[in-house]
């Protein structure tokens, strides 16, 4: 690519860069402004850099929403990894009549809109007393990430040569030991992919907390941010600071794990 063509391509790349990146730059600069200046001077740098916005946002609820998000996401991802690799492994080493059909059902599960299940999940949660508990988020998070996780782990285990299992059996391993001692540790790459994919899905989910939760100690960041925005609706620079606080950890994580995150987040759209 030379000459004019090259310049055109750079212009396109640059325009897209500004469109994608500038809102974040603006958000970050706004977060350092005092609220009056936010309105008076939307483009420029702050005349006085106001760091206290961050401390205020952090103390007014963002810290606890972040903590809620992290622990709920952590346990849901761990549960998902275990549940998905167990069945993925079994279906690949002990196929039975109907196991393909079962995989097909999981595949179909990817097409199910979450919203088609929300009313019954709400009534079930009320009937079983799990409304407004950890479990009303934990189980749906596993369920809705299960199809892709089962698919990825099934494909991974199926690609491992059968000799490995035979060797493990020769050494006296039963099916349980073969899984926990041999296959599960081998599955690190697929565990990483599923972890990243489901981490973002769960961390960013907005719908389940909206429907299943009302107490503060279960509100995760997306819902929490909406509450925060409602409470401080006129204080735009404080809201910007809250957005920066919730975005920054993701961006920092991303600078270190870029390749893995790009691969993980798009995993659902690559394998057909």
């Amino acid at each position: 690519m030379k000459g004019i063509g090259r310049i055109v391509l750079y212009v396109l790349l640059f325009v897209q860069l500004v469109i994608t990146g500038y809102p974040f730059v603006w958000m970050t600069i706004s977060a350092f402004k005092d609220n009056k200046e936010y309105f008076a001077n939307p483009w420029g740098l702050p005349s006085v850099w106001k760091f206290s916005n961050f401390a205020d946002a952090w103390n007014q609820g963002i810290s606890s929403y972040l903590f809620n998000s992290l622990y709920i996401t952590f346990f849901s991802v761990v549960g998902l990894l275990l549940v998905a690799t167990l069945i993925g492994y079994y279906l690949s080493v002990r196929p039975f009549r109907g196991s393909k059909l079962l995989l097909g059902a999981f595949f179909l599960g990817m097409l199910i809109p979450i919203h088609s299940t929300l009313i019954p999940l709400f009534t079930i949660a009320n009937a079983t007393g799990t409304y407004d508990t950890f479990w009303s988020l934990f189980f749906p998070y596993i369920a809705f990430n299960l199809p892709i996780a089962v698919f990825l782990s099934y494909n991974f285990f199926t690609a491992i040569p059968k000799d490995l299992e035979e060797a493990a059996v020769m050494d006296g391993c039963g099916i349980y030991q073969t899984f926990f001692r041999v296959y599960f540790p081998l599955a690190k790459p697929i565990l990483a992919t599923v972890t990243i994919l489901s981490f973002f899905n769960i961390m960013n989910d907005f719908v389940f907390p909206l429907v299943m939760v009302s107490k503060e100690s279960l509100k995760t960041l997306p819902l929490g941010l909406m509450m925060f925005k409602g409470n401080f609706s006129a204080n735009y620079s404080l809201i910007s600071a809250a957005l920066v606080i919730t975005t920054a950890p993701i961006i920092i994580l991303y600078t270190f794990l870029q390749k893995y995150i790009q691969k993980g987040v798009t995993a659902g759209a690559v394998k057909g």
């Binding site: 994608t20 990146g21 958000m27 097409l111 009313i119 907005f206 941010l225 057909g272």
Partner: protein, 295 residues
């Protein structure tokens, strides 16, 4: 070496039980329950009243449902004609490995990782009629007549949300297509260039046909996700003004959890499910033909 009898049963339960229980309990049974609820008049608290297909005839006559359906279709079309072509274009451009390509690619992907709450709040600020960046920009360019309450006017509310959805997901499709294009060996492209093929011919006769299976899958992915789209509509416009940005999922949520009409809400969600499945089936059949043509 395979287990027999009771041992085999126990193994099956141990390995498959948890996944099956969760999948059936959280997805399959609720879908069936939702279909069941759709036959009742029910507010979630008092006694259910069996009304047979009444909710469905109400659905067919409900003007807001048709607005929502139309808006969902627009949102889907908007996603298809913006996100995928723009994503593909940038993936091809990044394929030339110009200096800085990796940096551009990293930035493009950033919004994909963030929650819709963050993006919805951020863009509501940008669209703000009085202090928003967009109107400020138009003012400073001397285009005062173009400024408006982007999310508050019927003519622009839905379009404004569609723009943000596209803004978020273009980076997703860039990464997907970059990955697919990397699967094409450089030798093929070099050979075509040596033969004197123009870059346009290379794109349309080599690159696009070779990644057609990926394109098929992204179309399906994009339609499925757009059809059930909810988050930014709820966060940025709440379906308004005057239902002008209502989509199927937001209308279902409004009926179920604001108006507490569980029966009718279930009818809408059943409709959403069946419509989505039917469309997914049609698309995969039609695009499957494309796969045959290219392979």
């Amino acid at each position: 070496m395979h287990e027999k009898g009771l041992k085999r049963f126990a193994g099956g339960m141990f390995f498959m039980g948890p996944a099956l229980l969760i999948f059936i309990g959280i997805i399959i049974i609720p879908i069936l329950m939702s279909m069941y609820y759709s036959l009742f008049q029910w507010d979630g608290i008092s006694q259910k009243i069996f009304t047979s297909m009444d909710n469905y005839s109400r659905l067919l006559k409900d003007p807001v449902l048709w607005i929502s359906l139309k808006n969902s279709v627009w949102l889907t079309i908007g996603a298809l004609i913006i996100q995928l072509p723009v994503g593909l274009m940038f993936a091809i451009i990044l394929g030339y490995k110009l200096r800085g390509s990796n940096f551009f690619k990293s930035i493009y992907f950033t919004p994909v990782m963030l929650s819709t709450a963050v993006l919805g709040i951020l863009w509501s600020q940008i669209y703000d009629p009085n202090f928003g960046l967009l109107n400020e920009m138009l003012n400073s360019l001397g285009l005062q007549s173009w400024t408006r309450a982007w999310l508050g006017e019927e003519s622009t509310a839905l379009l404004s949300v569609i723009a943000v959805v596209a803004w978020q997901y273009i980076g997703f499709y860039i990464i997907v297509y970059v990955g697919a294009l990397q699967g094409i060996s450089d030798e093929v492209l070099e050979a075509a260039r040596v033969e004197g093929a123009s870059e346009w011919r290379i794109i349309f006769n080599i690159q696009i046909p070779l990644i057609w299976p990926t394109i098929t899958f992204t179309v399906l992915n994009c339609v499925i996700n757009s059809l059930k789209y909810f988050d930014l509509i709820y966060i940025m416009t709440g379906g308004g003004p005057n239902n002008s940005s209502e989509v199927i999922a937001s209308y279902m949520m409004k009926n179920a959890f604001r108006l507490m009409d569980f029966g009718y809400g279930s009818t809408i969600s059943t409709f959403l499910l069946l419509f989505g499945l039917a469309l997914a089936f049609i698309i995969s059949t039609v695009l499957g033909q494309g796969n045959k043509k290219f392979s």
